[in-house]
């Protein structure tokens, strides 16, 4: 599957395209196969996102998982500060990245 991601222009937060809006949670990301670039261009022009790009991902029982470690770290947070992660209460969150 293809995922569309970027950063919120004002806050810099990592965001994922859900099919209709942007979410902080990769679990809510939609498959944008074939039309990710068009959405990216439109959303960037509307200044709802900064530096959007399309990546490969896979569907898993826990939801979409980015194909590259870099985007998994973006989705979760730094692996060395699990307390700052998007799901700080989840002790298994770190192993999802590697």
């Amino acid at each position: 599957m293809k995922l569309l991601t970027g950063n919120d222009l004002k806050t810099g937060d990592v965001v994922w395209w859900t099919g209709s809006d942007w979410s902080r949670h990769v679990a809510e990301a939609a498959d944008v196969d074939g039309h990710g670039e068009a959405i990216a261009a439109e959303e960037e022009a509307a200044r709802r996102v900064n530096a959007p790009y399309v990546i490969d991902g896979e569907q898993t029982p826990q939801g979409p998982r980015p194909g590259h470690i870099k985007d998994r770290i973006r989705a979760l947070g730094p692996t060395v500060r699990l307390d700052l992660n998007i799901k700080p209460a989840d002790p298994k969150a770190g192993s999802w990245v590697i």
């Binding site: 222009l9 810099g12 900064n50 470690i69 973006r74 730094p78 060395v80 500060r81």
Partner: protein, 544 residues
């Protein structure tokens, strides 16, 4: 320490309003990200993995307690309660909102600080010796020259769109604590045979993709017109530095392709013209600045000995405290490298504590070091024990300065959008493997430096042991380098051979240092042994 006058303050205040205007235009859609990017970078604002990152300048690494407390305030108010001290003596924050950036700059300006030119293809923050003004071995305090450089380079109208970034370091001792020869321009103050003070000028050093140790391009530059000489150095670079390939755009490539002698000739020719233009400030300006770096009011006739009866304190004293030029005083190095910690990170509470210690014990002065540690430059020997106790209570008394766990590491793939591999977890694993301080001290001075990509922010080329993280088909892989140095004996490390995974590189380092223990002669550091015996014995120990 330098204090702003009305002019300095007006310029920094104007910068806040200019950037506020630029941010508003970006948020309103009047300028594109492509146009905004160089503007925000020239104010140290990056878009990183998790958010915007703001890098704040600490000119030549010197701060007072009020400024240090402001860094803690910014961490608390605008970030996530911590900051990261960098190899260029700056601090950066990882979770900044674009809409907050102008307010952060306004807060900084209230304590004579800024983020001007902490990124971008311009002249960056000038770095210097973290022991400046305190070191027993310096010929003069280099910081007044660094401050002249700060003012000259700030919003330099001709050199704000250079082919690539430009880093200058200035030192005034034979021992190089600032990796001076790995800068675009390195300046070393010394007295010539006639007793005159001047600079030895090195141009074209750097790390990154094509590491180079800077050659000397002028053996002696009189101090009076050194700014016009640098103007000539930069003009030749701005005109002829490569702009066709970002990887070949640094001045080191120009100097290498022209040859140091030809580059020097072009600079001399340009300087012959430039120095007639009256660009150099009058001597009175240097004197005005230098007066503000006058030594603090040291007490004389005080005790020059230290009670070593607490063995843990004695270890820290031997490892982290350095000789001061004033009897009765010492230089304290605060390690930001606790085992298991993140190299260079400090919490806002730790930053506040270090500010308090500076105010109480160090004539209100702090320094940031290029090894990502903090220095209290002027501490009375009689008060070292009290300082140590307060540091220990805040997890700031690691007695590992220049030992294997005093690791320089870039933020790596945990934070950086350019990185190929993580640096911090590896630094933590290495520190853990060599956790025993007795073992570390037995290994002696061993500078280990980790970069998460070829840009070399973690100075891996200059590590006695260096590690470079690479992306091998989507997995993190680490190359090992041996034999680098960023000190006065500057050299570039060589790759041992095939790379390793994270645990593999820790094992390889252990085999390397154990080999060193069998090979060393009395008093030989790892680097000395490596230079004597070469790569082969280590290669065999690593790869078998």
């Amino acid at each position: 320490m330098y204090k702003y006058d009305e002019y300095d303050q007006a310029i920094v205040d104007a910068r806040v309003e200019e950037f506020r205007d630029q941010v508003q235009r970006r948020l309103a859609g009047e300028i594109s990200e492509d146009q905004f990017k160089p503007l925000r970078l020239m104010n140290g604002l990056y878009l990183q993995l998790h958010a915007y990152m703001l890098r704040i300048a600490v000119p030549y690494g010197t701060m007072d307690s009020r400024q240090m407390r402001m860094l803690a305030h910014i961490a608390r108010k605008y970030d996530r309660d911590y900051g990261h001290f960098t190899t260029r003596q700056n601090i950066q924050y990882n979770w900044i909102k674009l809409e907050d950036a102008p307010d952060i700059l306004a807060d900084l300006a209230s304590v004579e600080m800024h983020a001007i030119q902490t990124s971008g293809n311009c002249i960056r923050n000038t770095t210097s010796d973290q022991f400046a003004g305190a070191a027993a071995d310096e010929v003069t305090d280099p910081r007044p020259w660094a401050e002249l450089l700060r003012q000259w380079s700030t919003f330099h109208p001709e050199f704000s769109y250079l082919p690539r970034k430009f880093k200058i370091a200035v030192i005034a001792a034979e021992e190089d604590r600032a990796a001076m020869r790995l800068h675009d321009i390195g300046l070393q103050l010394y007295h010539n045979d006639a007793g005159e003070l001047g600079f030895r000028v090195f141009v074209g050093g750097g790390m990154g993709r094509t590491p180079m140790v800077a050659p000397v391009i002028r053996e002696f530059l009189p101090t009076a017109d050194f700014l016009s000489y640098l103007e000539a150095c930069l003009r030749v670079y701005n005109r002829y530095g490569r702009r066709d390939n970002i990887y070949k755009a640094r001045i080191k490539i120009l100097v290498h392709e022209l040859g140091a002698a030809e580059y020097a000739r072009q600079v001399e020719e340009e300087w012959a013209h430039v120095k007639t233009l009256g660009l150099d400030p009058p001597p009175g300006e240097f004197e005005r600045i230098a007066a503000q770096f006058a030594p603090p009011a040291f007490e004389t006739g005080i005790a020059d000995t230290v009670d070593r009866s607490d063995p843990d304190f004695a270890v820290w004293l031997d490892q982290n405290v350095k000789a001061h030029k004033q009897p009765g005083y010492a230089i304290v190095n605060i390690s930001l490298k606790p085992v298991g910690g993140i190299p260079g990170d400090a919490s806002s509470a730790q930053i506040d504590l270090m500010a308090d210690l500076a105010e109480t014990y160090s004539f209100d002065e702090l320094r940031v070091t290029h090894a990502q540690n903090i220095v209290l430059p002027h501490v009375k020997k009689a008060e070292l024990y009290a300082v140590w106790q307060k540091l220990a209570a805040a997890d700031l008394a690691s007695a590992n300065l220049d030992l294997i766990s005093d690791i320089i590491a870039c933020p790596g793939l945990d934070y950086c959008s350019l990185a190929n591999a993580r640096s911090i977890p590896l630094a933590q694993k290495i520190a853990k493997r060599f956790e025993s301080l007795d073992r570390q001290r037995d290994l002696g001075e061993l500078k280990l430096k980790i970069s998460g990509c070829i840009n070399a922010c973690g100075h891996h080329h200059a590590g006695h042991i260096g590690i470079l993280g690479v992306d091998r088909k989507g997995t993190e892989n680490y190359q090992l380098l041996l034999g680098g140095s960023g000190a006065e004996d500057a050299s570039l490390g060589r790759i041992t051979g095939p790379g390793f995974d994270e645990d593999g590189v820790v094992d390889a380092i252990e085999r390397t240092v154990e080999k060193y223990r069998t090979l060393r002669t009395d008093g030989e550091r790892f680097l000395d042994t490596y230079r004597r015996v070469g790569m082969d014995p280590f290669k065999e120990a690593i790869y078998g």
